[in-house]
Symmetry: C2
Subunit: 448 residues, 2 copies
């Protein structure tokens, strides 16, 4: 028979078990924290009608989409989780309880030209809080507290959630009479970290903005003090534009709120340079950077929007949300060797019967461990002990117990710690406690 070469498409991430265990643990931690903060799970179809998904798209997105016909239907694969959410809220507005806090962790698809660090299938881990008609500004403060919990739980401590406000920017541009160019200005300003101040200056001049105005814009976005000082500097500008004044007030409320959620001062700060590309945002905006690895870019971004579902309904659903681009983040961490790999699976112990004679006793041990929720495994089959040890070494399990005649006869096991080489004889009844006490879950990511 002719064999088909086993391969996958470029731009699709597929991991070996060791890496997949780390990825799964990361996803579990994100999920757990989203649930801890009261978000409901949501699971929408990967395939939707093109009409639904493309209601809002256009430009780049439309070119990238996976679109095809099946029967009479014009179908597309979702390219983000926000459009499905906006469709869901419009569709189920009478069944959902507002404020509707939902999380969704799922794959989305963009047929981009493949290049390093870009994926065509990737996980987004989204949270959004949706109001019916209105949504309190305090929810804008809850979002960073969740992200902070997620990142610390993963082992990432040295990060900054950068916060800005679109109303503030809008008001400032109105005050400078350049509001009709604001989309372009935001796009340019957003790049300052990447391309530097000089380039920004040049590009803004290219928009036919007067030099004095360009200087004012640059001086504005460069305001870089601690959070309360920035608020004071902004107030001292004495700009009477309404949007600007509301922007300052919102920013101030969000900052105070974040403190109330116990987020450390070192983990969030006002950054007037962040703008977010999408015109969709209308208030608070967030980006998150790893302080030691700024070149990774924002690992978690989002913001406040006025109207989630305008393409599907006349009703008003304002919301605030944020998304972790997990596949890209994982790839960036892997390429910098920042992931802690341990075992090929989730097991804490591997039980190895020396021969068929000890299989029954080994199974008693394994049944007890599993009944006590200790993930564990047993080597079955008649392989040589050398092969079994080889297997134990390859899978990277922390504890192994070789069970021979003596163990079976005297109802104990010898647990060997494969990291330290230490061995302990433990009576049958003490195995569960021993493993529970000697196994501490370590952080998956280590940025230090």
């Amino acid at each position: 028979m002719n064999k088909i070469k086993p391969r996958i498409l470029s731009g699709f991430m597929e991991l070996l078990p060791e890496q997949q265990v780390a990825m799964t643990k990361i996803m579990d931690i994100i999920k757990k924290n989203y649930e801890l903060f009261g978000f409901s799970p949501l699971d929408t179809p990967v395939i939707e009608l093109s009409e639904t998904l493309l209601a809002k798209a256009g430009g780049e997105t439309e070119k990238q989409i996976y679109r095809f016909n099946k029967g009479d239907n014009d179908l597309s694969l979702r390219f983000d989780l926000t459009v499905p959410l906006s469709r869901y809220v419009a569709m189920h507005q009478n069944d959902v309880v507002f404020p509707f806090k939902r999380y969704q962790i799922g794959k989305v698809y963009r047929g981009e030209r493949p290049q390093k660090g870009r994926f065509r299938e990737f996980y987004q881990c989204d949270i959004d809080i949706i109001g019916n008609g209105e949504l309190d500004i305090n929810y804008d403060a809850e979002i960073p507290s969740i992200i902070c919990n997620v990142l610390k739980d993963l082992g990432i401590n040295d990060f900054t959630i950068k916060i800005n406000n679109r109303k503030l920017l809008k008001g400032f541009f109105e005050y400078l009479n350049v509001e009709e160019k604001s989309v372009d200005i935001l796009r340019i300003v957003d790049k300052i970290l990447k391309v530097g101040e000089e380039e920004i200056f040049k590009e803004l001049l290219d928009l036919n903005i007067e030099k004095s105005i360009v200087e004012k814009i640059l001086n504005f976005i460069k305001i870089d003090e601690n959070n309360s000082e920035i608020i004071q500097v902004l107030k001292n500008l004495n700009i009477t534009n309404e949007s600007f004044i509301i922007g300052i007030s919102e920013l101030e409320q969000v900052l105070n709120g974040i403190k109330c959620y116990g987020v450390s001062d070192s983990n969030f700060k006002i950054d007037l340079t962040i703008a977010r590309g999408l015109d969709y945002y209308t208030g608070t905006i967030y980006e998150t950077n790893l302080n030691k690895y700024p070149e990774v870019g924002s690992i978690c971004s989002g913001g406040r929007y006025d109207n989630l579902s305008s393409y599907y309904t006349d009703k008003n659903f304002p919301g605030v949300g944020i998304s972790i681009g997990l596949t890209r983040l994982f790839d960036q961490l892997v390429s910098r060797n920042l992931i802690q790999y341990k075992c090929n699976s989730f097991i804490k112990a591997l039980i190895i019967p020396v021969s068929e004679n000890e299989k029954d006793f080994a199974l008693q041990v394994i049944n007890m461990l599993r009944n006590n929720n200790i993930a564990s495994d047993i080597c079955l089959g008649n392989n040589k002990i050398k092969n079994k040890m080889n297997y134990a070494n390859k899978i990277g399990v922390k504890f192994i117990a070789m069970i021979g005649e003596e163990e079976k006869l005297n109802n104990f096991i010898t647990l060997k710690n494969m990291e330290t080489g230490e061995q302990n004889k433990i009576e049958f009844d003490g195995i569960v406690d021993f493993l529970n006490n000697s196994y501490k879950e370590e952080k998956i990511i280590n940025l230090d």
Copy 2:
């Protein structure tokens, strides 16, 4: 602006939050148990090259597949998780450690004609154990013990894992000299529970099998004693066909093995009528039925196969696996009202500050709960108390704490159990213990 009607395709499951919480809990329990038994996670792309996925397909599967072009690539959405596994093992055979125990929980796609209970996008929850060249028969006994754990953990106790062996059937048909019709016979025999003995009799005669042989086949599959008696009856047939003899021996080893894993006698039995449609299986086969709801059909099926990756490699990878068709199972349980719904989210308590004055204290409470891994939420905003209570009722949370002036002043909260109406005043420092002690996770499914 013209609004687009928000809708999804027929044959796609999308749940409201209350149901989605139950679905997510079920998926979490399946995942946890798969990990407990030492399976590594696997996550393959949803989109693969058509060449890869269709290596083995044909007939019905090929018609149902979602297939399309993007750029120069002929692509398809995976229609099961077995073909991607076989491609993965062939592709990564030098990096994977054998025996390779992997689980995968993911969506698969089949563009079937939509009908009640059939889905075009559905979850499969697969486990497989793959050997390199060989795989010990004892692994065939481990599979039912995992399924048993999963189902009991979900709240399903009254089920039967039915076990048969393809070598036994093959040998029996060879002995009767009807082996060239064995595929058709198996297909017919497989339907006995659905269509009854008389119909089976008729259909077998239609295959031009002699009446005396048909009677022998029926008498054979009707052997229905307890497990060890069936083995004895099979041995007493004194059939000398080699495949038949190996089949009995394998069946006997698997039965003894299952007992060693502590599975209760009431949860597994030999059933000579089960055959599994796929020609792919070569040894042990499994189906699982809910005893009180036989009409649901098998909720979990699988078996032993000789050669996982024959379309991609000359090397031999035998394995054994089983799959839970989760979307269909969930749908069947929902339609019979067998799912226990509780809350719209995972929270155990909702904190409600009576006014803005108590917000700070309410946030202290919520921070403490979340820091202690108690999923909980807080009502923000200036809604009337009536609206906040209404919200609490709608989301179905078990405990609420209304925080007013007195609570704030004296550092306590009043927790109300929304199910019993009972109220308890609890000091700030005692809240975590109180909630941990009064919240017992209940089973999600109740078949009684």
